[in-house]
Every structure is written in structure tokens, then in C-alpha cells.
């Protein structure tokens, strides 16, 4: 009953034509483009991978086997757990968290500096400088790191020139290149929300705290960080979700023996042509990442409304 009233209000405010166009567009977006695809993917993940002739037939029933495959592996391997895929999953999540923390630490000082030096020509120039790498394609950025980290790349050459190492270090095999690349790819999504929030902090608060004898660390712990919390949360959420869901960077910079979880999904879809299995893995990724983000937001008491500011 309440719902109907809201709709009636809405149409009275906007007129019949505009009201239905607006509602229609939003409904198309949310229902047809977002909700229904997710539901059908969920549905897919509970089905067997059948040849087209048997689809809809008696064998087309719901099953948990796709999820069992992630945990226990296929029947042929006779292992108690599917250690390979589970390790990939765990590594993806842990590495994404580490990348996020790395980006927070690296960005905070600069965000503070830029946010407090408002109006200075230098700060403006820095912001313009920061935008340049942002518009360069993710793939090209990963490629740039590959040039640097390669066997004959700049870093190995420099290390050998300084006699720190005699053999070139295989950064790609050890995944150092991958972690550096992920941190690099999304660092600006951490910086800009933090900068926006810190910019709105009243300078007088810091001055007052300093006059009252607060130490430098205390000012940050008690004033700047609490104020910047929504920005940090927003940036962390973006960086974590994007690095856990990254596909291009691991494909380009990942070592030959180690995979990212999205690469498993990609393989199920494009190499094995087993969409059902791929959908199940994608659901696991989606649920896991969203759960982690929600938990952390709850712990740090941040609202959903702070995201995207």
C-alpha cells in the first residue's frame, strides 16, 4: 500500500510521460542489465554441462557438482581437496588485500600533502601529472612494467651494474612484477578519494591540535585519519575489488606457473567451454569479495553511501 503511494507521488511530480521514461530506464538497467543476468548466472552455476541436445531433458537437473569441483576436485584426481584451485583462490584474496594496504600506505602522505596545499600552483600541476597515467590503458601500463621487469629490463640491468646480483632476477616468475603491476594499476583510485576527503578538512583543526601540544603522529591518528576514513574506505574498496577481479594484469605480468582466480574463470569459459563451471567460480569470487568488503566496512563503521564520493 505504501509502495503504491510512492509511485503515485512520483508520477504526479514528473508527469505520466517523463515518469514512465525515467522509471523505465532505471528498471531496464537494474532488472535487465544487472539483476536478471546475475540470477541466470547463479542458475547456470547449479547445472551440469550438457550437450545442447540434452538441455531441458531429464538429465538437466540442479546440482552442486560445480562447487564441489572447486573444493574437492574432480573424481579422477582422487585427492581429498582441490588444492590447486583453492590455493589460487586464497592467493588472489590475500594478495589483493596486501596490494590494497600497500596502496593506502603509499598514497596517504601524498593525499595529505595535496589536500593541505590547496590552491598552490605546484599542487595543481601534480594533480594534472597524476591524471596522465590514469588515461593510459591498463594493458599498456602492465606492458610498461613488463619492459622494466623483464630479463634484460631496466631493473635487472641496474642491479647488475651495481653488482648487487650476478644473474638477472626473474621478477615475473616470482610474481613481484604482478604485485607491482596491480598496485600500479589502481593506485590513483586510492589517491583521489583520499585527496578529496582530506581537502575538505579544516586546517584550523590541525593548527589547534598543534598549539595544544599534540604530537605529529597524534594529530594524524586523532584528526586526519578519522576525517579521511570515508575516503580511505572508498579507495580501499575500489582497489581491493578491482585487483581481486583483475584479468589483464595477471595475464600479462603473472608468472607462468601461478594463476589468478579470474584466469581460472577465463579458462573454464574460453578453453574448456564449460560455462557452468566458470559461472560457479565467478559466483564464488563475487560472494567472497563482497563479503570481505562488507565485513571490513562494518568493522570500520563506514556506510555504503560513502563509496563513490
Amino acid at each position: 500500500m505504501k509502495r503504491k503511494l510512492i509511485f503515485a507521488d512520483f508520477f504526479r511530480n514528473n508527469g505520466a510521460l517523463m515518469g514512465s521514461i525515467l522509471i523505465g530506464l532505471v528498471a531496464f538497467w537494474l532488472i535487465v542489465l544487472v539483476i536478471l543476468p546475475q540470477i541466470s548466472m547463479l542458475d547456470y552455476s547449479f547445472r551440469f554441462n550438457l550437450p545442447p541436445a540434452e538441455q531441458g531433458g531429464p538429465k538437466d537437473v540442479y546440482t552442486l557438482s560445480n562447487y564441489q569441483h572447486l573444493i574437492y576436485g574432480s573424481d579422477e584426481t582422487h585427492q581429498s581437496f582441490n588444492t590447486i584451485d583453492l590455493m589460487v583462490f586464497l592467493r588472489t584474496i590475500v594478495a589483493a588485500i596486501m596490494v590494497t594496504i600497500f596502496d593506502i600506505i603509499l598514497c596517504y602522505p601524498l593525499a595529505y600533502f595535496l589536500g593541505q596545499a590547496r590552491g598552490m600552483g605546484m599542487a595543481r600541476l601534480l594533480v594534472v601529472l597524476l591524471i596522465i597515467p590514469y588515461w593510459v590503458n591498463e594493458i599498456l601500463r602492465a606492458f610498461a612494467l613488463r619492459i622494466i621487469f623483464g630479463d634484460g629490463g631496466l631493473i635487472n640491468e641496474a642491479l647488475m651494474l651495481l653488482h648487487l646480483t650476478s644473474e638477472p632476477i626473474d621478477f615475473i616468475r616470482h610474481d613481484i612484477a604482478l604485485y607491482a603491476g596491480l598496485g600500479y594499476a589502481y593506485i590513483l583510485l586510492m589517491l583521489f578519494p583520499m585527496y578529496n576527503v582530506i581537502e575538505s578538512l579544516d586546517r584550523n583543526q590541525i593548527e589547534a591540535a598543534r598549539d595544544l601540544g599534540a604530537s605529529w603522529t597524534r594529530i594524524h591518528r586523532r584528526i586526519v585519519i578519522p576525517h579521511a576514513k570515508p575516503g580511505i574506505a572508498s579507495g580501499s574498496t575500489m582497489v581491493f575489488m578491482l585487483s581481486a577481479g583483475a584479468l589483464a594484469t595477471p595475464q600479462i605480468l603473472g608468472g607462468p606457473s601461478s594463476l589468478w582466480f579470474t584466469q581460472l574463470v577465463y579458462q573454464w569459459f574460453n578453453n574448456s567451454l564449460n560455462w557452468q563451471q566458470g559461472a560457479a567460480y565467478a559466483i564464488v569470487l563475487l560472494v567472497a569479495t563482497i563479503t570481505i568488503v562488507m565485513t571490513i566496512m562494518k568493522i570500520f563503521r563506514v556506510n555504503m553511501g560513502d563509496i563513490g564520493k
Partner: protein, 421 residues
Amino acid sequence: MKSPIVSRIALGLYFIIFFGYLMGPLLVMSVSAFNSPSFPSASPWECFTFEWFSVLWHDRHIREGIYYSVIIGLGTVILSVSMGLAASIVLTQISARLRSVYYTMIIAPILIPGVVIGISTLVFWDRVGRFLGAGEGSLLDGLFHNGLFLTILGQSSFIASYAMLVFVARLQRFDPGLTEAALDLGASHTQAFRKILLPFLRPAIASASVLAFLASFENYNTTTFTIVDYKTLTTVLAQKVRLGINPSISALAFAIITLTILVALASEAYRRAAQRKEAVWQGKVARPAARLWPAWLRGNPAAILFVLLSFTIIVAFGVAQRYSPAQCKIAAREAKQAEIQRSIEELRARRQEEAPQAPAPTTDTAPAGSGAFGNVFAPGNLPGAPAPEPAPEPAPAPDAPANGAFGNVFAPGNLTTGGDN
């Protein structure tokens, strides 16, 4: 904060690290676009060359990719901007109780991993096609498995959220009283929307469109699933980078970086000029007298830089038409060959009887038209451990004037090496 000098140094060091991390890779990549070795690298500097730009220009796959990327980008802009606009208008009118639920729903697509969006779109439309009973090869079936259609829908589903954020920021400053006044004066709702709200939102529509286009152009995670048998620039690039690479990709990156800097400078220059005009108009600054320099250049470092950079690019174009690194390349190849010869001899001495199984000379078989790629097949590259993959799709020979150098693939020096083995 122990002493100002120490903290100054620490701050400077931190800045160097941060910007080194951010800019260093791009710088190295840009340098490698002008280096002649066929595997992109900056450090063993060989010869300054423009050939990778001409390879890039003649690459059919990249051209096609850009073409489809633009089509998809335009479709995504239209769909996502209108959906984002509608969603933001609804957000301003929705009751407080529903507001947070609704906001969570329209912001959530940003947080869904792109891979998941791609898969769900693909799966859903496949299902819709089957539900509607669209047979193999029918019109609907073709549409629902069409890469362009799927990619536009998949990308719009989350790019609309970005557009929505832009509109929400602008709508916060809108005075709903204006619309009410128009309605009171007898305008219809549609008229009020078109004459009041839309003009107010015009800047936001422009920036949301740019944002949406760029986000669509850059997208890889969703596109790689939904594109099916088409290709976009990003999927072509990803394929090239994963398989064989040559510095033409660096050349592309360099072009993008230059373009970005140009646009950034232009918008900064425009902003300054507008500010100045405003100041003159308000009488704060004296109207500049006409002199040697046009008025918009003075006191506007961004505009000066813009002009200088454009000038440099034009000059570089001119030079590139004439410049040919032939001499330098011959020298570099000879030096390399001498080294290879030496190592082969060493190997030969060690193995005595067993003649080293050096790879057969591919020089003779290399198609005469493959121009710049001839170097890939030069024997000098083959014994090296990471033999570059044969460059994908040899491009047609670059422009005639610049490539007198490429005939050297067949220079006697190369052939004798082959003949020795």
C-alpha cells in the same frame, strides 16, 4: 618532525619514489618506442628510429580494434548516460526510507568484478535467446550472440553507475523551485524537463559522456567475455602483449600519452584564458594591448606549452619522413654479428665434430613485403634465448621514403652467417 631538514629530505625522497613508480614505467615504455631492437627494451640503446610508428600505422588488427572500440564506446555513452541520468533524477525524488536501499542498488554494479558482469551478460542473453525460441541463425539469435550488442549492454550496466555519480554531484545544486515555477506557469512536464533541467545538466552530461566513453574504451575484463568474435582495441592489445610483441605497442602508448598531455594542456589553457577574460571583463586587469603575441598566450604557461608541444610533434613528423637509421643499424648489426660469430666459434671449438645446430636462415624465406619485420627474422635474433615470436601479422611495408633501411635484411652480412652453418 624532529628537524625541518630531515623531514624535508624525507618528503622529497617520498615524492621521488611515488612519481618514479607512477611515471617511470611510462617513460621507459616511451623510450622503447624509439629504440630499434625488435623486442621492446630501453636499456641497450641501439638506434633511434621511427619505424615502430609506421608498423603501428599499418597494423590492420589495431585499426579494426579501434574502429569497433569507437562504435561500442558511442553505444555505451548513449545507453549509460541516459540510464545514469534517469537513476540520478529518481534518487533525488525517492523517499528517505527507500533511499539507502536504492543507492546501494545503483552503486553496486561498480563493485561487481568486470569478469562477473561479462559472464552474466553472456549467459543471460544466451538464455533469453533460447527462451524466445530463436533458432540457430535467426535474426534474434544473431543479435543475442552479437559481440557488439552484448558488449554495449555489459559495459553500460556498470558505466551507468559512474555516469550517475557525475549527475548526482550536479543535481545537488539544482533548485527544484525552478521546475515548479515552470509547471505553475503552464509548462508540461516534458517541457519543464527539456527547458529547465536539461540545460542545467548540460555540463554534467558532457563530462559523463567523456567519462563513459573513456571507461568503455579502456575496458577489458567485461569485453573479453562479451565480445565473442569481434575485437576491440583492448582485446587486440592484450593478445599482442601476451603472444608476440614488438615496440609498435610502445609507440601506441607513446601516442596516447602525448595525446593525453595535449588535451590536459589545452583544457588548462582554456581555463586560464577564460579566467583572464573574466578578470578583464570585471575590470580587475587592464585589457592587454595588442602586441607581438596573441593575447591568449600571455601569462598562460599551459597555452605556451601546448603550442610548443604541437610544434615539436609537427617537426618530428617532418623529420620522420626523411630520417632513416640505416647506417646506425648496419653498424649495430655488424657488432652483434661479430659477437655471435665469436660465440659460435667457441661453441664449435667445444663441440668439435658436432656442428652447432644453428637455426636455418629464414632470411631467404621472409616475404619481401614484410619490411620492418624482416629484422625479426634476422639471424642475429635467433640464437638469443627468448626468441621473439614471429610478430603477429606482418604489416604491409611501411612508407617508401623512410625504409631504405629494410633492404639490409638481405645484405651480404646476413647471408654469410647463414651460409656458414
